[in-house]
């Protein structure tokens, strides 16, 4: 033990000596990890603090002082509460379990096959479609007057007018759950693929098959436990997110009562400041629900482990593998189809003139909707792009700084510390963003663009970090040794060797960050105080009006804004490194 401390001290001393000549970067670089953690966790902690006080009746800005429990009494007096809670829990847990099951069975049954590679290729576009756009697309597909119904009417159904069915915004939140599943399946699939790359999984599956196990059962029994250990945190993120999502709930979820998170946003947007007390109480309830659900999920994991162990000991080889595999593949394809066809139908609506049921296509297609809504979208696009660009650049700078500090000084997050990265994604947005807004109100800080950017950074940073960390660390450090030996200072190595070599992953991380920022709804709405209008806030605001042409235009613009950097991340390295075979991977 003492030896270890001495060694640590000694290596720290030698690091200090080594960097003595490096004044400029020495000043900033070592503190970047701290700044990054502060940027990610500061608003979350401040927001939770800002939630707790008003939840107990303390809101000086409205002339209210606590402590009192009346906000909670008011909340529990609301007749819709049990249903709102059930929706939050049911939809969140249901969507997460369903998405995880589909991804696990799909990977188990099909990884390495052409069908799987086809789905893999769809991943990036599927991921970059914002939740709101995917939700609108889904609703345009499956409403009684939607595209799917038109496709089979009247030929098969005999409908010449839309049937009177409540599909979108159904009381049980099933459509909302579907809207979450189609977006979480690609996310979990991506995470699973990354985990597969790290474990030696191919040979385990091959050994299991040689022992007579079906492809799917063999994979589940040998590979899945290892993979799940690695994707556990992202799964928790999906659970927390699905339980507290607002934009998808506004578009696809029921109204009377709405889910708890939507109710929180309603209370927080009420002109009567006193309603914020109840909103804060509801936000704390939301936090408690997510914590409870995460604990229940952990217990579920333990149960599945016991059952899975029993299943492994039984030695069953998987007789129904083909059936289960077929179902999983179908589910995967349906998810991809619903997202992509949803974008297509948004596009058709954006160009649609008169379009009566049950015609499959509009009578005429014209640019008139775009002429009408175009100017509004351009303004919102400018705001969206400005915020996303600034936030993405800041996140990239902090991330590269952290990773470089880790490389130069060994300031590395321990495996425990990785939790901190996920923390802003695990605390439900509706639990801390309202508090952050109230806090700003109390200290008299102005709402507007800059606070919105800081709030976006909380969500963008973890994704940029998680996206860039692996490729950055995988860079062959001997390149750095060589460059140092050739007389290049650490800064020169970073700018002239490491970053150029990592151009593609850096751009991909930027694209991820940009699309996360573009898709932010609640942070923009609450922290912007309704005065910062992005494509996402404008699009979601259209949900209640039901103007499909306007939604088509805004939804398509939103998708385009999120997608464009992914396209650039593919094209730019291909052009810049067109004569560099060593960098043409993937």
């Amino acid at each position: 033990m003492i030896g270890r401390i001495v060694t640590a001290l000694r290596s720290k001393l030698s690091t200090d000596v080594k960097t003595r000549h490096d004044h400029k970067s020495r000043c900033v670089l070592p503190v970047l990890p701290a700044i990054t953690l502060l940027a990610m966790l500061g608003p979350v902690i401040a927001g939770l603090y800002g939630t707790i006080l008003p939840a107990f009746g303390h809101l000086p800005a409205a002339g209210l002082t606590g402590p009192t429990l009346s906000p909670f009494y008011d909340l529990f007096d609301w007749a819709g509460l049990p249903r709102a809670v059930m929706l939050s829990v049911g939809v969140g847990v249901g969507a997460t379990a369903l998405a995880l099951t589909i991804v696990a069975l799909l990977t188990a049954g099909w990884s390495g096959t052409p069908a799987f590679r086809f789905l893999e290729r769809l991943l990036s576009p599927l991921l970059s479609v914002p939740h709101a756009a995917a939700a609108f697309g889904l609703s345009f597909l499956i409403t009684p007057s939607g595209w799917l119904s038109r496709a089979v009417s009247p030929a098969i159904t005999g409908w010449d007018r839309p049937p009177d069915l409540l599909i979108v915004q159904d009381t049980w939140g099933l459509t909302m759950m579907a809207g979450l599943v189609i977006k979480e399946v690609p996310f979990l699939l991506l995470i699973t693929l990354a985990a597969l790359g790290q474990a030696d999984t191919g040979r385990s599956a091959a050994v299991a098959q040689a022992l007579g196990y079906g492809r799917l059962t063999g994979w589940l029994k040998t590979v899945f436990p290892r993979v799940y250990a690695q994707i556990r945190l992202p799964v928790y993120v999906v659970l927390a997110y699905s339980m507290s999502v607002v934009d998808v709930a506004v578009i696809l979820g029921p109204n009377t009562p709405p889910s708890l998170s939507v109710y929180i946003v309603r209370l927080m947007s009420d002109p009567d400041l006193a309603m914020r007390l109840q909103g804060a109480a509801a936000a704390l309830l939301q936090l408690a629900l997510v914590i409870g659900a995460l604990m229940a999920w952990r217990i579920g994991e333990a149960i599945v482990t016991v059952l899975g162990h029993r299943w492994i000991m039984s030695g069953t080889r998987g007789k129904i593998d083909p059936i289960v595999g077929g179902l999983a593949l179908t589910a995967g394809i349906v998810c991809a189809f619903l997202v992509l066809a949803g974008i297509v139908v948004l596009g058709v609506w954006s160009f649609a003139g008169y379009w009566s049921f049950p015609d499959f296509l509009p009578d005429q297609l014209s640019g008139r909707n775009w002429m009408r809504f175009g100017p509004g979208t351009v303004e919102a696009l400018g705001e969206t792009a400005l915020i996303a660009a600034v936030v993405t650049l800041a996140a990239l700078a902090l991330t590269v700084g952290c990773l470089e500090a880790e490389y130069r000084y060994g300031l590395r997050l321990s495996s425990r510390g990785i939790w901190l990265l996920y923390l802003p994604l695990l605390v439900p947005q509706t639990a801390f963003l309202p508090g952050l807004q109230t806090l700003m109100l109390n200290i008299g800080a102005d709402v507007g663009r800059l606070p919105v950017m800081l709030a976006h950074l909380v969500f963008v940073l973890p994704y940029v970090f998680l996206s860039l960390a692996d490729p950055f660390r995988a860079w062959d450090v001997r390149m750095g040794v060589i460059a140092n030996a050739l007389g290049a200072r650490p800064d020169r190595v970073l700018w002239k060797v490491r970053l150029p070599m990592l151009l593609r992953p850096v751009l991909t991380a930027a694209a991820v960050g940009f699309s996360v920022s573009v898709g932010q709804y609640l942070a923009t709405l609450l922290i912007g105080g309704g005065r910062v209008a992005t494509l996402t806030t404008e699009a979601v605001a259209l949900a209640s009006g039901g103007d499909r042409r306007a939604i088509g235009v805004y939804g398509l613009m939103q998708t385009g804004a999120a997608l464009i950097l992914f396209a650039l991340a593919l094209i730019v390295p291909a052009i810049v490194w067109r004569n560099r075979k060593g960098l043409r991977y993937g």
């Binding site: 007389g487 490194w577 060593g582």
Partner: protein, 213 residues
């Protein structure tokens, strides 16, 4: 001034436990071959000399290069060249730009270009300056890596299993070239290798390390 590379009472430690100890002087144009089982810390010894020791390792002792104590100097000021078993040419730079990266700063643009062209010619790669390194053969890459390192004007040369990725025919050829260039520039060479044939071909002293403890 005492030219050459001197390691005085160097001990490498892994998490505080000594791995190896070495005390030697390598004169200009001499080669010292260091052999020993894997895990004994041969590559770590080289990392100590280049100033790029990894987290878990530490070291005591002194490194003197051409009379200068470089033990605590930052890696980029030590003037110690190193070659690995992989060529490690920067994949985003052309062959010429790789050499320019190595070439000490200073001199006019024309001068620099001339020195790069001469370096390429010295190893029979005339006109390769604009080539993508990924399109070169293994032997050609090894030669470019050697010249890149020599252009940085090092005072000593470290070789980390430098020939083990090359096939037998190339191996002797590249080995001969490296030792000849080092000798021509009167560089002290420290080579770490598994291969007895490499060590024999080096023609210098051979140290076989065995684990301490």
């Amino acid at each position: 001034m005492d030219r050459g590379l001197t390691l005085r009472d160097v001990t490498i430690l892994k998490i505080g436990a000594p791995l190896l100890s070495l005390s030697r002087h390598i004169g200009p144009g001499e080669v010292l071959s260091v052999m020993g089982p894997s895990g004994v810390g041969k590559s770590t010894l080289l990392a100590f000399i280049t100033g790029t020791l990894a987290q878990d390792f530490s070291a005591t002792g002194t490194i003197i290069l051409d009379g200068m104590d470089v033990t605590d100097a930052p890696a980029y000021q030590r003037r110690v060249g190193i070659l690995f078993q992989d060529d490690l040419l920067f994949p985003h730079l052309s062959v010429g730009a790789n050499l320019a990266f190595g070439l000490r700063a200073g001199g006019s643009k024309v001068d620099r270009q001339t020195r790069i062209d001469e370096a390429l010619a010295e190893v029979g790669l005339d006109g390769f300056a604009d080539r993508d390194p990924a399109t070169l053969s293994g032997g050609q890459k090894a030669r470019v890596a050697l010249m890149r390192m020599l252009l940085s004007d090092p005072c000593g040369l470290l070789l980390d299993e430098p020939f083990s990725r090359l096939d037998t025919a190339l191996r002797a050829q590249v080995r001969e070239l490296v030792f000849a260039r080092a000798k021509a520039r009167a560089l002290p060479v420290l080579m770490v290798t598994h291969d007895a044939e490499d060590a024999a071909a080096a023609g210098g002293d051979i140290v076989t390390l065995s684990p301490l403890h």
